[in-house]
């Protein structure tokens, strides 16, 4: 169902990367051009004030989607439409994303200078749980978690209403991750922010997201409200991902062993990209690419071959 006033709309967005050998090799060795489709026909909408999470394993294209949204890449096909005021991005590695030669106050002030907005640096730092005096220090004087707070302060300095967060807690220890996730939730509530949250960690996503999109080999295979996705996963890949999460409760419930690995994106399987690993695959899945119907792209779900009773 279309959202009433989406802040962001992606319409059939694809992105190809040219991974051909150099020109001379292609001529001498008669190799063709090769392209890698990192994002393939992705459409979704994000409403103001919500958190949409994109999950998937490495190489599924989730970070490429993040970069397409903020405009670091241009789409090869389709288009991205943003109706909000301003967007900012938070990166995974708080060690690589802060200039080590700048004082924290200059790092946080950079977007303000460029945009001419008026926010006090001290207030920005307090907002993320740092002290105003920290502005005089350099990034190396801070721990990973504090650096990620600085990144968030910098992102907020431009007064955005939309934040794209690419694995913002993956480089952090769990106790620090909890602090950052709590901070992000509090800021969302206070400032009415909208988040795109990219993560490979389903447990983290279940804490922060309103809706979750599951990606596999460049496509969104299932998109559902978080509560629904985690209790009643429909796509076999979503079920597999949920099954692979280590069970901290130690309920001893038997786990279906997960077979195989993500295929090489340069030579994607025919039909449904998940069919080599899928227990429900049949002839049609091998031949025909499934279309997104009712927010899930799976022949077995469409044909009601999968028992959709609630899991666990």
């Amino acid at each position: 169902m279309p959202l009433l006033s989406p802040l962001l709309t992606l319409t059939r967005v694809s992105r190809d990367f040219d991974v051909s050998a150099p020109w001379l090799n292609r001529v001498i060795e008669r190799q063709p051009r090769r392209t890698l489709r990192a994002v393939d026909d992705v459409s979704f909408e994000v409403a103001g004030g919500e958190t949409l999470a994109l999950v998937g394993e490495s190489g599924c294209g989730k970070s490429t989607v993040a970069r397409l949204i903020v405009g670091l890449y241009a789409p090869s096909a389709g288009h991205v439409e943003f109706r909000g005021r301003r967007m900012q991005m938070i990166f995974q590695d708080p060690y690589a994303s802060l200039n080590p030669r700048w004082r924290v106050k200059d790092i946080v002030a950079e977007p303000i200078k460029l945009l001419g907005t008026k926010a006090k640096i001290g207030d920005m730092l307090m907002q993320v749980g740092l002290s105003p005096d920290d502005g005089e220090k350099y990034p190396h004087e801070f721990s990973g978690g504090q650096r990620q707070r600085i990144s968030i302060a910098r992102a907020l300095a431009g007064e955005p209403d939309f934040l794209v967060c690419d694995e913002p807690t993956s480089a952090l220890d769990v106790s620090v991750q909890a602090q950052i996730l709590n901070l992000m939730s509090a800021l969302q509530e206070r400032l009415g922010l909208t988040y795109i949250f990219i993560s490979h960690n389903l447990a983290v996503v279940s804490h922060i997201a309103d809706r979750v999109g599951v990606m596999y080999l460049g496509r969104v295979v299932e998109l559902a409200p978080a509560a629904e996705l985690f209790t009643r996963p429909r796509h076999p890949y979503t079920r597999m991902l949920l099954d692979a999460v280590p069970d901290l409760g130690m309920s001893g419930k038997p786990r279906t062993p997960v077979g195989g690995e993500v295929p090489n994106p340069l030579a994607p399987p025919s039909g449904c990209a998940f069919h080599p690993r899928c227990p429900h695959a049949n002839e049609r899945c091998r031949r025909e690419q499934p279309q997104v119907i009712d927010n899930v792209a799976c022949h077995a779900v469409e044909e009601r071959r999968i028992n959709l009773a609630a899991q666990s």
Binding site: G144, V174, S175, Q179, N182, S206, A227, P246, M250, E261
Partner: protein
């Protein structure tokens, strides 16, 4: 006990004084047992592993305590002898499989070399053994894979090769330092299952070093929790996860996001951060962040005492 560590202390002398990275750590691992060693970055878990295998980077050194492998003391062995013991009796698996494999040799050559160095076998016997190792760690078509180079393997398959290498000389102890951290969740589950099966079937003692409580819950029988270089709690996995006795363990367990349908936005969090090694507070190292501290915690260092089925280094559990 296959491995028995007593009062291990690792120090790094620096110009500004000596840093104690591992402080008075004692633990043991029985045959076939998987012991999890958890802690956040800088807690000293990796250094504990390196100290056991004698691979501490100078100036780091074992300043006190002893390490026994199958009853024999190994921390004071001469360099060459320790190298032999390490190669023969201890297998090591690191986080990044690429750093443990030589890109210039085929996987078969690396396995055979390791086997021939440590076991009295002929070349053809070594090849047979290399094949059966690859088969055992679940690599499909091992005959063909034997002739391939590490870069031709995917991340999960590479980690399997590293595990096969670690097992090549039939070690009695395997030390696995974050073996699943670089892998995707679906591959992670496969590697966990493999480690568990190896411990069970071969009677190998496994020390599983990780920051991921979920991996420990799935794999280990007992778990030791480290904080600021010290053991703060050790006990059966189920006990430590369901009824943590040390406030740090309790905070750590609370801060792990869990999948639940009912979305609870607020995670329990431990305020502050782990102290740096040059600023470990007196008394209990956790006291500045502890919600349950009292006077004694500020002045006296707690040692491990029985607490339920576990042991915890916390004054809450000490006899009054």
């Amino acid at each position: 006990m296959i491995l028995d560590i007593k009062n291990l202390r690792v120090e790094f002398p620096t110009r500004r004084g000596t840093l104690v990275a591992v402080d008075d750590v004692s633990l043991g691992i029985a045959p076939g047992e998987v012991l999890g060693l958890v802690g956040e970055s800088g807690a000293g878990k990796t250094l504990t592993g390196l100290a056991i295998i004698g691979l501490l980077e100078p100036p780091g050194r074992i300043a006190a305590g002893e390490v026994r492998l199958e009853g024999r003391r190994i921390d004071n062995l001469p360099h060459e002898e320790l190298r032999r013991v390490r190669g023969r009796r201890i297998g090591v698996v690191f986080q990044d499989p690429l750093t443990s494999l030589n890109p210039l040799y085929t996987v078969g050559e690396q396995l055979e070399e390791t086997i021939l160095t440590h076991l009295p076998l002929s070349k053809s016997q070594a090849r047979t053994r290399a094949l059966s190792l690859l088969r055992e760690v679940g690599i499909p078509a091992p005959e063909a894979r034997l002739h391939q180079y590490p870069h031709q393997f995917s991340g999960g398959m590479r980690q399997r090769v590293v595990i096969a290498l670690a097992l090549a000389a039939e070690p009695s102890l395997v030390i696995a330092d974050e073996p699943t951290t670089a892998l995707d969740v679906s591959i992670q589950a496969q590697v966990i299952a493999l480690l568990k099966r190896l411990a069970r079937e071969r009677g190998t003692a496994v020390m599983l070093i990780t920051h991921d409580m979920g991996v420990i819950a799935e794999t280990a029988q007992r778990v030791a929790v480290m904080y600021a270089g010290r053991l703060v709690e050790i006990g059966p996995v189920r006990e430590v996860i369901h009824s943590p006795r040390h406030p740090y363990t309790a905070g750590l367990m609370g801060s792990i996001p869990k999948i639940s349908a009912r979305r609870d936005r607020h995670l329990a969090q431990i305020e502050g951060a782990m102290p740096r090694l040059n600023a470990i507070p007196p008394g209990c190292p956790f006291n500045p962040r502890c919600p349950r501290r009292f006077e004694r915690c500020l002045v006296a260092r707690p040692h491990l005492v029985p607490a339920g089925a576990s042991q915890a280094a916390c004054w809450l559990h000490a006899a009054p």
